[in-house]
């Protein structure tokens, strides 16, 4: 891009009537960053990026802060902050005030924090003196500020797996406020999380399509017990985070493959993986070696972040189209999620990718043994004709059990998160235990992440975050919206045909006539 083009792009941002002040500042900062040359990579890597084989998710040309950070808020609450000139809080109100102050200076790719912490664990010690009513009132005010100060649906809070007053109140408050923020994950441990807490969670799902569920024992086995779920279901080490997220378009990789499907994993996939890893390495080195973040950020100097708790995320997407194209090379017309041979090839590709990523050293990724963590990347607003992550194509989802059988075997290979959306018919709201049953079954079969959406709800889950239908309509008609993520969400809704997602056939009297005498 020449300097005239940059001027033109910046002028357009300055004059764009749909941006809020903060959205404009954020866009201008990225435009300024992109005047610089990106970190140098090989010609092959540059071409792969230009042609869409790999994608840096528009992270910017000069990475100067990690993409995702998960500050150790527990330590902050215990020690107070010199930088913020705040002592360790002693009351519930002091604690929420303290946390809001910290969030205000937590960097991430979005300009807002992507993680608010394990809110129930953080706040439970401060809640002991409050009545249930006092607790709810305070949490509700806190919730309102989270949404209004950090209007971005990638901003994510975690709850569970143990029961407590704060988690119960938080789920109820979340239902009542009808907000996209905080994005919410409940960690579930079948041995620890009681059924009635799951029932509370499913009631919240039926109202606002949250929380997302994560398989706590599986996460602890992979990342240890200090992990958090941030942004679009990215599981990362607490006290660190992810330097970058670069994703490989498996559909594009398949289009570059010559020969039969059986040779893809041997001949084409390793090259594509290496090109992706090369870009990740260049970006990580720029961040760590050329910018002062890890020397000067107060989050680092006060011990809330440390370089040795960082990793990097290697994203995959477009598995559905990849598999179908490769099988077409063999003269077979099969669908991932519908045909077992297609599922088997999908699982083989994911396992091979996991092996290749685990063999490829990655600098400054001590938190994960000097390797990147594999992540099933849930899409971008501009994606067209390519399915998010390792999901079954939108509209092609088979019946509930068949769907889960197709996707569940992938989950063990994605320690940094994978989301497959299960859309439930709206009548499940009358029988929430059914949703609890399905969630428990899915976790038992080895699903790492379980994401529900209730058909025809006001809240639509896009990739891993939520938008409200009325905001999609506002964006479509050229109006501004308060949440930055809603602009992205409206693009995805249109480009990825999310309104065609098939409700799972949990039987409903509205859709199938039931045998009635």
């Amino acid at each position: 891009m020449g300097i005239e083009e940059h001027r033109h792009a910046i002028r357009e941002l300055i004059e764009d009537p749909t941006l809020t002040y903060r959205q404009r500042i954020q866009a201008l900062a990225l435009a300024a960053e992109d005047v610089l040359e990106p970190p140098p990579v090989s010609e092959a890597c540059t071409q792969a990026l230009a042609k869409g084989l790999i994608c840096d998710l528009a992270e910017g040309h000069a990475p100067h802060r990690p993409r995702y950070t998960l500050p150790d808020y527990a330590t902050a609450l215990a020690q107070g902050s010199t930088f913020l000139e705040l002592p360790a809080p002693t009351t519930f109100d002091d604690a929420t005030t303290f946390l809001l102050a910290v969030y205000g200076s937590v960097p991430s790719i979005t300009g807002y924090p992507v993680w608010f912490g394990d809110l129930d664990a953080l706040l439970e010690p401060f809640a002991a003196d409050l009545t249930d009513e006092e607790l709810r009132t305070r949490l509700r005010r806190f919730w309102i500020l989270l949404d209004r100060l950090f209007p971005d649906a990638f901003a994510h809070a975690n709850l569970g797996p143990t029961d407590g007053r704060v988690v119960r109140a938080a789920l109820a408050v979340h239902r009542g406020t009808l907000q996209e923020v905080p994005n919410l994950t409940l960690r579930v441990d079948p041995d620890v999380t009681p059924d009635y807490l799951l029932l509370e969670a499913m009631c919240t799902v039926a109202t606002v399509a949250q929380p997302h569920l994560v398989n706590h024992p599986m996460m602890v086995a992979d990342l240890g017990d200090r992990y958090g779920v941030v942004s679009c279901y990215n599981s990362l080490p607490v006290g660190g985070g992810s330097h970058t997220l670069v994703r490989l378009n498996l559909k594009e990789a398949a289009l570059r493959h010559a020969g039969r499907s059986s040779t893809f994993v041997r001949d084409t996939l390793p090259i594509a993986i290496e090109l992706t890893a090369e870009l990740m390495e260049a970006r990580i080195r720029h961040l760590v070696e050329r910018t002062p973040f890890f020397e000067t950020s107060w989050l680092v100097t006060e011990g809330l972040l440390s370089l040795d708790r960082f990793t990097a995320m290697f994203g995959l997407f477009g598995l559905a189209e990849c598999v179908e194209h490769l099988l077409a090379l063999d003269g077979r017309d099969l669908r991932y999620g519908r045909d077992e041979d297609a599922d088997a090839l999908a699982h083989e590709i994911v396992e091979a990718a996991a092996r290749l990523v685990a063999e490829r050293p990655m600098p400054y990724c001590e938190a994960s043994g000097g390797r990147a963590l594999l992540h099933s990347q849930a899409g971008l607003d501009s994606d067209r004709q390519v399915t998010a992550g390792t999901r079954v194509a939108v509209g092609g989802e088979p019946g509930l059990y068949r769907h889960l059988e197709a996707v569940a075997p992938n989950h063990r290979w994605f320690p940094a998160g994978v989301s497959d959306i299960v859309r439930l018919d709206e009548t499940v709201a009358e029988n929430l235990q059914a949703a609890v049953d399905i969630a428990k079954g899915a976790l038992a079969m080895g699903m790492r992440d379980v994401t529900f959406e209730v058909a025809n709800g006001e809240f639509v889950r896009v990739t891993g975050y939520l938008v409200r239908r009325r905001d999609i309509d506002r964006v479509a008609s050229g109006d501004g919206v308060r949440h930055s993520s809603s602009v992205l969400g409206a693009g995805s809704f249109t480009n990825a045909h999310l309104d065609h997602r098939r409700p799972q056939r949990v039987r409903s009297p509205e859709r199938d006539a039931r045998p009635r005498r």
Binding site: L199, G399, Q504, A513, R517
Partner: protein, 260 residues
Amino acid sequence: MRALVADVVDASCVDGPGNRYVVFLQGCTFRCVTCHNPHTISPRPTPTSRWAEVEDLAADIARRAPFLSGVTVSGGEATLQWEAVRALFQALAADPATAALTRLVDSNGDCVPEVWEALAPWMHGAMVDLKALDPVVHRELTGRSNGRVLCTIRQLTAIDRLTEVRLLIVPGANDDAAQVAATARWLAALDPVPPVVVQGFRHEGTRPAARRYRPATTALLEGVAARLVAGGLPPSLVRTRGIVGAEPAPPAEVPVQVGA
């Protein structure tokens, strides 16, 4: 042991508490004008029915057990094939993979007491339809008297196997104030009073003759529910099906010491 099966649904949230595996047996004793699935009425094999071995059904249920709260046998009228129902429930109780599932029957209530006696040791409960308390209206709607239905409801109450009574409200047939009040009095006299579910008649799946009745509206169902409460039923035991957004309630209690 074989069963003549109209259909199987392996994930249902509308046939009892939680996610349930539902077996619809072929054949019914009633000839309801309002039937949503008239093809399940004939007790003989039809183009849409099939014979299934009970052990195969049990094996398929075992495969889905981690996702289920339980199993419901519906119809048609499940009790027409009560021996197959009992065999299925016994098989489920005997297999550790399925023993924890609740076993419910969805019934029109039109069967003799001996059938319930045979099923009771293996069944957690039955959900019974009461089409109308007035025998004349009942005959108009179903072609049969309701004598055995009322006996069924009393008997299942006495042996602690009545999960719920379902009232299918058909506008113009069984929704008038006098009938609803009488139904409330009759149900309130049971000890214990069972949970009562008010459902609405719809046109989906019915035969042309059913068009003589209007579909029920949500407002009508809410009105019927209110009159049932006014007629003596505890509010906590009356709910309508079709209203969303309620606060979560714990799953319905079902007796547990059955056919271990």
